[in-house]
């Protein structure tokens, strides 16, 4: 390799980093997110990619860095690659999910223990909070749930995207994010005031207010639908109306 060749490379190409994807090494542009780096390396992500914008929680990823003993976790679509990263995806988390009829429960700690008795095993080690890519105080909301402080638990867990990383790390084997769903449902159903506007809208729907419009749409051909979608839909006009 001559000197001129190296210079050309520096001028024309983005800086590259070396990452290890499930053990094999790949050179990827340093500006990519973990998710894009995996795809750049030639993998097709079938499961473990969703909104690609940090909202859906489908792309939990676990990694280590060169020369660092710690285990790190993040959302693959939100995290930039670093040189020496050892990566893997966590496309699915096996976690027990309780079945219940939300209309037949009470917003208490006992309800939580009935469906998720392992909550009482919490050791307060805080591994769940440390791993959370949303920076939620996961252990705190698990404790609030156990204490029957449903409102506090619902508010603390509100930003959860259900990536499941907490559940994988928990030494007490608690499915935290499912517990969080239960507390938010309990809070919504039994403790929050139901908004009047929502009730009015549900009544309208149930009374068949939108039925006619939907039926009209359903009768349209594909071309007519396409025309409506691209040419008749105008958000600005709708606002004025």
């Amino acid at each position: 390799m001559s000197k001129t060749q190296i210079k050309e490379k520096e001028e024309n190409e983005t800086p590259m980093v070396k990452v290890y994807i499930m053990g094999s090494s790949h050179e990827v542009p340093a500006s990519l997110t973990i998710m894009k780096a995996i795809e750049y390396a030639g993998f097709k992500i079938k499961r473990g990619a969703g909104c690609r914008a940090g909202f859906c929680g489908a792309c939990a990823t676990v990694y280590r860095k060169a020369g660092d003993y710690r285990i790190y976790a993040a959302l693959a679509c939100q995290t930039q690659v670093e040189d020496g990263m050892v990566l893997t995806q966590l496309p699915f988390v096996p976690a027990p999910k309780a079945k219940y009829d939300i209309n037949k429960l009470s917003p208490t700690g006992n309800t939580i223990l009935q469906f998720y008795p392992e909550v009482a095993r919490c050791l307060s080690c805080n591994a769940c909070s440390k791993v959370c890519p949303q920076d939620i105080h996961v252990m705190d909301y698990v404790q609030y749930s156990l204490q029957g402080q449903i409102k506090k638990a619902a508010e603390e867990s509100f930003d959860c995207v259900q990536c499941g990383l907490c559940t994988i790390r928990c030494p007490a084997e608690i499915p935290q994010y499912h517990v969080a769903t239960l507390v938010r449902r309990l809070h919504g159903k039994y403790e929050m005031k139901s908004p009047d506007t929502l009730e009015a809208r549900v009544e309208e729907i149930e009374a068949g207010f939108y039925e006619e419009g939907f039926n009209e749409l359903m009768k349209l051909s594909k071309d007519e639908l396409r025309h409506k979608y691209f040419h008749e839909r105008d958000f600005i006009d709708q606002k004025k109306a």
Partner: protein, 304 residues
């Protein structure tokens, strides 16, 4: 007004709401307000006897650390003390605090887990039961001065249970001759009825699957108090309260005839005597309703 960092424990938010709400109300009346730690976690429940199980010691040490941080948000005169109401929490926290203060290897291991959370424990806390605050900081004379409805006619048998007096490290009073509940009950204008079974085990967690053990213990405890003329019991532990209160209801159905004795938390008696609104007692959560007795003695009025 001194404000204290207060650790509730899970029972105070579920089965023993009356205990917590009356405690906070009387603490304000006595200018020693209990202020809840905003982000407290489980005390660790039953203290593990295996000396190398450090995982089970993270929870209590984290409580001490978080309470210490909470104290920084309170007043200058707030002491470095975390105040508990539940005897079990008090016992577990006291034992672990003592352990890590005397064994730096243990403390280091636990702190290593707390380091990343910026919650390292610096051995700068003491654990106090609210009864200790009442006895040592506020004083029974001071409590007596604040009584507006003396509890005349109530004949109270104090029941300590195990956790307030055992083990040594966690004891809040003399293990064979405790007196704190007796003095408190007297200062509220009620009569003290001594019972030899003041610390006979209530049956504890046997309630989960061997409730006949609890039945036999509760029968002994209650009968001993009744024979000596008591018309109610006073306790400091939500588990003792549950066992004695709930199992009396079951026993009443099995062995009809004897009237059960209502069970009060010490803070509920204080609330009655200091004129705190009656509803804070949450008597609806009791299995043996204390209201008929209070009505008979003309004590249910409180301050209307």
């Amino acid at each position: 007004m001194v404000r204290y960092s207060y650790f509730p424990g899970c029972n105070l938010k579920t089965n023993a709401k009356g205990f917590e709400e009356t405690a906070i109300a009387v603490s304000k009346k006595l200018s020693a307000e209990l202020v809840e730690i905003p982000n407290w976690n489980c005390c660790g429940t039953v203290h593990t006897l295996s000396t190398d199980n450090m995982m089970r010691r993270i929870a209590p040490v984290r409580v001490l650390s978080r309470s210490r941080k909470h104290i920084d948000t309170l007043d200058e005169e707030t002491p470095n003390e975390v105040v508990t109401l539940c005897s079990m929490c008090n016992s577990t926290l006291k034992i672990v605090n003592d352990e890590v203060k005397h064994d730096h290897d243990k403390l280091e291991k636990v702190n290593y887990q707390l380091e990343e959370d910026d919650e390292i424990y610096k051995e700068d806390m003491e654990v106090k039961h609210f009864l200790e605050i009442l006895r040592d900081k506020i004083g029974f004379e001071n409590i007596a001065k604040n009584v507006v409805n003396p509890l005349k006619g109530l004949k109270i048998s104090p029941y300590y249970g195990c956790m307030l007096l055992h083990p040594d490290k966690a004891a809040i009073d003399d293990v064979e001759m405790p007196s704190v509940l007796e003095y408190l009950v007297e200062s509220l204008g009620a009569e003290v009825v001594d019972s030899p079974f003041f610390k006979l085990c209530c049956g504890s967690y046997q309630i989960v699957d061997e409730d006949r053990i609890v039945d036999s213990q509760v029968t002994k405890i209650v009968e001993a108090a009744r024979k000596r003329g008591a018309n109610a019991l006073v306790v400091a532990c939500p588990l003792c309260a549950y066992n004695i209160d709930h199992q009396q209801k079951i026993l009443k159905e099995k062995v009809p005839g004897k009237l059960p004795l209502p069970v009060f938390y010490f803070t509920q008696l204080m609330a009655l005597a200091l004129g705190v609104p009656l509803k804070l007692n949450h008597f609806e959560d009791h299995h043996i309703n204390p209201k008929p007795l209070l009505k008979e003695l003309g004590l249910s009025g409180g301050k209307k």
